[in-house]
Symmetry: C3
Subunit: 340 residues, 3 copies
């Protein structure tokens, strides 16, 4: 069930340089794609592979198209065009419907007749599952959980009581949404639990990676706005708000009540402290630490790239006395000024 290259070009609204009748049956990398597959060139790092490709056609930028040894689909944003092509060529499995006999669904839950509830899922009373929602094996939906149309829980997703998910969500295995936030109050050297009473509200078109955790709010809700994309093993604490179309890479942690703007890109392994604000259109590189609000759009860093141990240890030893070094320099300056 392939498509013709000409049809593909038309659907993607791209200029085609090559034979429109060529049949495309799938996608592949520049290195591995065969003569019935479509590839793409977006990252300049892989430009060397273009000359050797045996793909049927390649989606690439105008400036790269000149060198393309096979059919070219020309785009200013080849990766996005490729995403659309791949979505068309590899559509997801058609939705299933019904409730697996091993699922435990409370009588007080509303499951749409067009939704699918997989084996060994548990759905508590008051939950509402909309049309075409696909709930994979081993998921748990607590009381009052709401899931919007066409959302998909791959498998073993836990949505605690009061979690609300929008439409077209895609949630991967091991995700836990709506567990208690880390609310503890110190009293004479011991910790009192602060009851966590808020929920989690997730907009439309959100994707959440495997084993990511999103805590319920303490008093009000934790919120992910529309189009937010989260990678694996991210930790979102209580009362965080993530603005629309922000993407966050794996292993990042966001502390309580932080507010992240819209269209931000947060790298992997980043730490964001609580009770601060990040403006719209901010990007933060991997393993940076955000300790204060970021008020202006732009790119920010504090990740420390590695060196051979010997060099690093030497520099590190100096860094531990950097303040002293600055004082020594200041003294030199004063003496030099006196000498002059």
């Amino acid at each position: 069930m392939g498509v013709r290259l000409g049809a593909l070009a038309q659907r993607l609204a791209l200029e085609l340089r090559g034979e429109p009748d060529c049949e495309i049956s799938g996608v592949g990398t520049l290195e591995s794609a065969g003569s019935d597959q479509l590839s793409f060139l977006a990252n300049r790092r892989y430009r060397g592979q273009l000359q050797r490709t045996r793909a049927a056609a390649v989606i690439l930028r105008p400036e790269d198209a000149v060198d393309c040894p096979v059919a070219a689909l020309v785009s200013d944003n080849p990766y996005a065009a490729f995403a659309r092509a791949a979505q068309w060529l590899h559509p997801p499995a058609p939705p299933r419907r019904g409730v697996h006999p091993t699922a435990v669904v409370d009588d007080g839950a509303e499951i749409h007749a067009d939704a699918w509830v997989g084996p060994q899922t548990c759905i508590a009373r008051g939950a509402r599952v909309a049309a075409r929602v696909q709930i994979g094996a081993g998921c748990i939906l607590g009381e009052g959980v709401v899931i919007g149309e066409d959302s998909r829980l791959e498998a073993r997703v836990t949505l605690c009581a009061g979690t609300r998910i929008g439409c077209r969500a895609l949630i991967h295995p091991g995700v836990v949404i709506g567990a208690d936030g880390f609310g503890i109050a110190e009293e004479k050297g011991r910790w009192l639990k602060v009851p966590q009473l808020g929920g989690v509200r997730i907009g439309d078109d959100v994707e959440i990676g495997a084993n990511t955790t999103i805590d319920r709010g303490a008093l009000e809700d934790t919120v992910l706005e529309d189009g937010v994309k989260l990678d694996n093993q991210i930790q979102i604490a209580h009362n965080v708000r993530v603005g629309a179309h922000t993407a966050i890479a794996g292993c990042t942690g966001i502390a309580g009540s932080a507010r992240i703007g819209r269209r931000c890109s947060i790298g992997g392994g980043v730490g964001i402290l609580g009770h601060l604000e990040i403006a719209d259109d901010v990007s933060v590189t991997a393993m940076s630490l955000v300790t204060r609000s970021i008020l202006r759009a732009g790119a920010y860093s504090s990740g420390m790239p590695l060196q051979p141990c010997r060099d690093w240890n030497r520099n590190l030893a100096r860094l531990r006395h950097l303040d002293e070094l600055v004082r020594r320099v200041a003294l030199l300056e004063r003496r030099q000024a006196n000498d002059d």
Copy 2:
């Protein structure tokens, strides 16, 4: 089912400035609380919201009470007082009892008649579940697991063979306790598995956040003492010991055989190397790295706050040659001394 403000003040042993007959039905933030809700002011950052609050009453410090436009409950520790008030106003659901028909419970397991075993849990032989324990859906208890009275496994918690949990524990979804530690021995470029034979012993009043992992000891036990509070996605390696009433924020990792003292506060994303000791009453800020024992109480840091990329990259380039810079300064000093 509200309570009167006077009764609340009496129960919390706080001075009330305002009308004792006012009815309180719940808690809320300064910004959102309505005329039947109690709020609190603990973090100075939110003092500006006090003037505008429409809460029925606010728990706050004596020095803030002067400016309180509504009824005030005066406390030296408003957050702890608020925790107690919220616990009273929002009690947890009453415990359930019985065993769900879809649970798989080995005949050789002892489940107290007053405990609850939720749907699709598995309990192996030799496990002992005490009175009023609440085991949510999809939990797995291995052989010989012991859980003390009034503990609560929210859902999908895995307790491997030999894990012992004290009383009043609260364990959130996705937690794995008692999996093998990372014990491997190098031999001619390959890794041999070192059998992991110890267990995990967890004291009373411990809370463990979603998707946190605590490995079993290699030979002896991994131990969390009473009152330890762990946030989400923390990794505790084999043979670690965490002292009583220590709190650890999300995404922190602790390597094997580290011993953490009592009443410590460990920030998020911290790394603690193995085979070291941290004294009592130590606090470590977010994303710090502990490479040696900390012998004295106090606050410690190595987290690197971010800068705009341009500034950071410039400083970073210099840092990579810091040792050389120090030598240049030393040379300047020698020459200046000679000149004098």
Copy 3:
């Protein structure tokens, strides 16, 4: 059911200094082992404990054997020898066989008659489970998953469609293998999903720690070669390749298309950016950040050990102006040169 020390020495091919008829029934630490237990001394940190040990025998290096107050088994690699001894003295439980009645196994899955499928597992069509494989409670195997002989899924492991696992794997609870990679393409301020079409291919003798996640490839496979050992809560992104016999400690994240060499040791909490290469035999210390390819074997670092907050904050303030400091030093140097 103990073994005699002489038999143990013979099996491990170690020199025995002591009574060969002594009966050994298990292993223990230097501090806790009793008179029928074997211990070891590998880490010099624990040498002080040797004098006080009451173990029946200790595996240790020749230079330490001189001081050993009990029987000694002499080895140049005591930890590896101990691993072998402990494997022998504490063999794993014998494999079970059959399919638990609560498991949901698709008719189109092939389960070897000598394999064990535990309670509340789900196995989809096309899956193939080889001889003696042990699948613990609550595991999920998607379509076409393949698991080689003698592999063991402890409990609650999720293998998404298309994951292939070799022989003798050991996979701990909460692991998710084969979930979608984080493939998103930006288009006018929104994110398009890039379909993830590759699989995950895992070699023989691989161990994977609790709650670790390994994403499927975007177009080709994510690959872990033979003998790779992963600790808990590691994140491996799409199209990563980890070379044979590489060991990675907990909480480390590896971004897309990174290629890690063979026999590498990666510390805990390390971040490795995407599209780069790490040579064979590289070791990276805890919490380092790899932003470029590492072309040569050796040890690398960028982890920043902590200091008391006061010292750290002072140094940090200077670091933020390090570039300026270097300029000041350069100016001093020029002026001094002029003065001479």
